[in-house]
Amino acid sequence: MDDDIADDDLQMAVVLGARSSFSTRRALLSVCEGRVRKRVGGSCPGRRPNRPRDFDRGAHAILRDYFGVDGKPPVYGEDAFEERFHLPRPVFNRLFRSICNEPAWRRTVNATGRPQAHAIQNVAAALRVLGYGEPFDRADEYCCLSGSTIDMYTRRLPHLIIDKWAKTYLRRPNAEGLEHILTRNAARGLPGCMGFIDCTHCTWAKSPKALAGQHKDRNGKISIVIETVCDEDLYIRHLFVRCPCTYNDKKVLAASPLMLDVIDEA
C-alpha cells in the first residue's frame, strides 16, 4: 500500500514537473517568435477527443515480444526480430541508443498532463513503415499510436539518421579507402575498378499531378531513377536519387554528382 502511494506521488511529481516545463517552453517560444503559433487542428472544443490509447500496453507488448520482460525470454527469436525490424539486433540497439534520449523521441507529457508514447514504440512503428511499406495506421493496434503520429515519426527518422550517420556511411572514399577498394577488386581480376554502377527505377505511386508528366517513364509509370555505386558486399558507396524517369542511364550519369567527383579526383 505504501509503495502504491509512493508511486502515485512520484508520478504526480513527474507530471507536474513536465507540465511546468511545458508551459515555460511554450511561453519562451511565443516570446522568441514574437507570435503565438497558429493552431493546427488538435484539441478544439467540439472536435473528436483523442482515443484513449494505452501507451504502456504498446510498449509492454513490444518489450515482451522482442526483448523479454520480467526475466522471461522474448517470444520471438533473433530471426523473427530481424525479419520484423529489418535490422540485426546490434544495429537496432545502436539506433535505439542514439534515439532514445533525443527530445523529439523520448517520452513526453502533453498539454493535458498525460504521459505520451515511449521511444521504443515510436522507433518500432517507424521501422515497420519503412520496412514493410505499410500504411501509417497499420501498426495502430500493436504499437498503440495513431496514424498521424506514426507519419510524424516516419518523417523524423530519416532526418535523424541522415544528420547522424550520413557523413560516416554515405561519403566519398578518401585516398586510403580508395586504395582498399582497388586492392579488393584487383584480387577479383579488375585492377583499377572503383565499384559497380547501376541505375534502377522505383515506382512513385502517389506522385503529385503536377510532376506526373515529367516523371513518366517509357512504360507509362511514374517513377524515379536511383543511381548507386556499390561494392561486392553490397555496400553502397554512392547514391543519387533525384532524376525523373525520363532520363536514361547516360543522362543520369551526366546529372549526378558522381561525375563531378570523378572529374575532381581524376
Binding site: 540485426p88 501509417f136 554515405l170 554502377i197 502517389k206 555496400y235
Partner: protein, 220 residues
C-alpha cells in the same frame, strides 16, 4: 586510370568499363564472363535492398520529392550499417574463400579487413564511426589530394577550372577506353583459371583441382 564497371546503357567514356557487345574472340568472351560475374552485385543490390526495405520499391506514402529522397538516403545508410555488421558472411566473400581453398592460392581472404568477423553483439560498443577502420580511414582535407601522374593534368593545380576541363576531357576520352579494355582482356586471359574459379560451379572447381594443370583446362 580508374573506372567503374557498368552495363551497356552507359556512355563510352574512359571512366566506364563495359562488356564487349559482340565478343568474337575467346579472350573477349572470357573478359565478358568475368566482368559480368563481378558486376552482378550491382544488380543484386536492388533485389536485396527492396526485399529488406519495401518502402523504397513503392514509395506510395510520399507526396513530396524531398521526403522520398530523404527516406531513400536514410534507408541506404541503415543498409550500409547492416552490411558492415555482417560483411564477412556474404556470398562474395565465401565464394572467394572456397575457390581459393580449392585452388590453393593465397590465404583465402583478399580483403583488407583483418579485424575478423563481427557477428557478435560486442561489435557496436562505440556509438559512431565504422568498426572496420581499413574500409574508410580518416577523412582527408581537400588540400591533400594529389594529381595523378600520367593524367595529362599536371599543368593546372587541383580545383581550378582549367584542371577540371582537362580532367573532363581525360575522363571522356574514347580512345583511352579502347586501350583500357584491350589491356584488361589480355590481363584476364593470362590469369583466367584463377580469376574465374569463384564463379564456376562447384563440380567444375573440384574437377579443376583434381587435374594438375587446372588453369589451362578452363574455358579452352
Amino acid at each position: 586510370m580508374l573506372f567503374y564497371a557498368a552495363d551497356q546503357g552507359y556512355p563510352r567514356y574512359a571512366i566506364v568499363a563495359h562488356t564487349f557487345s559482340h565478343p568474337d574472340t575467346p579472350r573477349r568472351l572470357v573478359y565478358n564472363r568475368l566482368q559480368e560475374a563481378v558486376r552482378k552485385h550491382a544488380e543484386r543490390l536492388y533485389a536485396v535492398w527492396w526485399s529488406r526495405w519495401f518502402i523504397t520499391k513503392y514509395p506510395a506514402r510520399y507526396m513530396t520529392l524531398p521526403r522520398l529522397i530523404n527516406t531513400a538516403t536514410a534507408v541506404a545508410i541503415l543498409h550500409n550499417i547492416a552490411v558492415e555488421h555482417r560483411r564477412h558472411g556474404f556470398v562474395a566473400s565465401t565464394r572467394m574463400e572456397a575457390a581459393a581453398a580449392v585452388h590453393g592460392a593465397g590465404s583465402g581472404r583478399h580483403d583488407g579487413d583483418d579485424q575478423g568477423p563481427s557477428g557478435d553483439g560486442m561489435a557496436f560498443v562505440k556509438d559512431d564511426g565504422p568498426i572496420c577502420g581499413g574500409v574508410w580511414g580518416a577523412s582527408a582535407p581537400l588540400s591533400d589530394r594529389k594529381v595523378n601522374d600520367g593524367c595529362g593534368c599536371e599543368g593546372a593545380p587541383v580545383g581550378t577550372a582549367r584542371y577540371m576541363r582537362m580532367a573532363e576531357t581525360e575522363t571522356k576520352n574514347t580512345h583511352k577506353r579502347f586501350s583500357l579494355l584491350n589491356d584488361f582482356t589480355e590481363h584476364v586471359w593470362k590469369d583466367r583459371g584463377r580469376l574465374l574459379a569463384p564463379y564456376l560451379r562447384f563440380s567444375d572447381v573440384r574437377e579443376m583441382s583434381e587435374r594438375a594443370s587446372g588453369a589451362e583446362v578452363v574455358l579452352r
